[in-house]
Amino acid sequence: MARARVYVTLKKSVFDPQGKTIHDALTSLGYSGITDVRQGKFFEVALEGVSGDQARQTVEEIARKVLANPVIESYRVEVE
């Protein structure tokens, strides 16, 4: 049994209209000093019968093929 967390975010070079809108809202609420907000997606994946490297390999593949669109997004996988 393994649990993995996958963080999918727009690449740094890609404009994030939602993050920008949230940033603007925070500024108008009076939160000064916030220089950037980026919005992304978070997935928790539970796997049975695998652990460690094998789980990581599977989840990396899922992230690359399905969870993220490599044209605009990058991802990070954590396995425990």
Partner: protein
């Protein structure tokens, strides 16, 4: 000629596309269920607009794994004409059949409004017989239509002549205000290198008859017919 209109769970422009092909253009048409991988007897495929699989994860991200998409890929690889409209365009991008990806509209709003698009190429299955520079009026209806590719890839796309439509003002000029969703280089539609797969965000099927406010969309469906006659 017989046109297949693919129906995914969540497609909502399938009947409009079917109507435009069959009743407006007088061509044969049939629906193709997303679990059906048999496209034999079909001469062209339309992936209609809507919210396939609820657009969960990303627009078009789940639909690309449906059974029919393997068949659509093989159909296109043999030169078969494939037209993706709105969500259909997004599915073709997710499937790697068309370049680019759609970001959220720059306004972060769902945009439902008429737009003007300029035809940039007349050698694709969606623009055959429509002169370059023609301005067509039809509606957009999407939340994610902000076409994105990194600059070097945009340059390559332009060099290959794969930009088929751009958002313009009514006179056909590029104008930032006319590019409502904020698409890179005002791109509204692109094609594959073979020119037989075309995707566009505006809805020609919603502007195929005068009663709908514009009949310009009809020209896209007529082009599809014409491209088959030539092929």
């Amino acid at each position: 000629m017989k046109v297949g209109v693919v129906v995914f769970p969540g497609s909502n422009c399938d009947h409009d596309a079917y109507h435009a092909v069959k009743h407006v253009c007088g061509q044969e048409a049939r629906f193709v269920w997303h679990k059906d991988a048999d496209l034999s007897s079909l001469d062209a495929i339309i992936l209609p607009g809507g919210f396939s699989y609820g657009d969960y994860l990303r627009t078009g991200a789940i639909a690309r794994f449906s059974a029919v998409m393997g068949a659509v890929k093989a159909f296109a690889a043999q030169g078969g004409p494939v037209l993706g409209i709105c969500n259909g365009f997004q599915i073709l991008q997710e499937a790697g059949m068309l370049p680019g990806a759609m970001l959220r509209n720059r306004t972060v709003k769902f945009l439902s409004q008429p737009v003007h698009i300029r035809v940039e190429r007349d050698d694709t299955i969606a623009t055959a017989g429509v002169p370059v520079g023609t301005v067509l009026t039809m509606p957009i209806a999407h939340g994610e239509g902000n076409f994105f590719l990194p600059d070097p890839e945009l340059d390559r796309l332009e060099a290959n002549g794969q930009v088929v439509f751009r958002y313009v003002d009514p006179s056909g000029r590029l104008d930032d205000a006319a590019n409502a969703n904020g698409s890179a280089r005002a791109i509204a539609g692109v094609c594959n290198p073979g020119r037989n797969v075309v995707g566009l965000m505006p809805h020609p099927e919603r502007a195929a008859e005068g009663e709908l406010g514009s009949a310009d969309g009809r020209r896209i469906f007529e082009a599809l017919t014409l491209s088959l006659v030539r092929a």
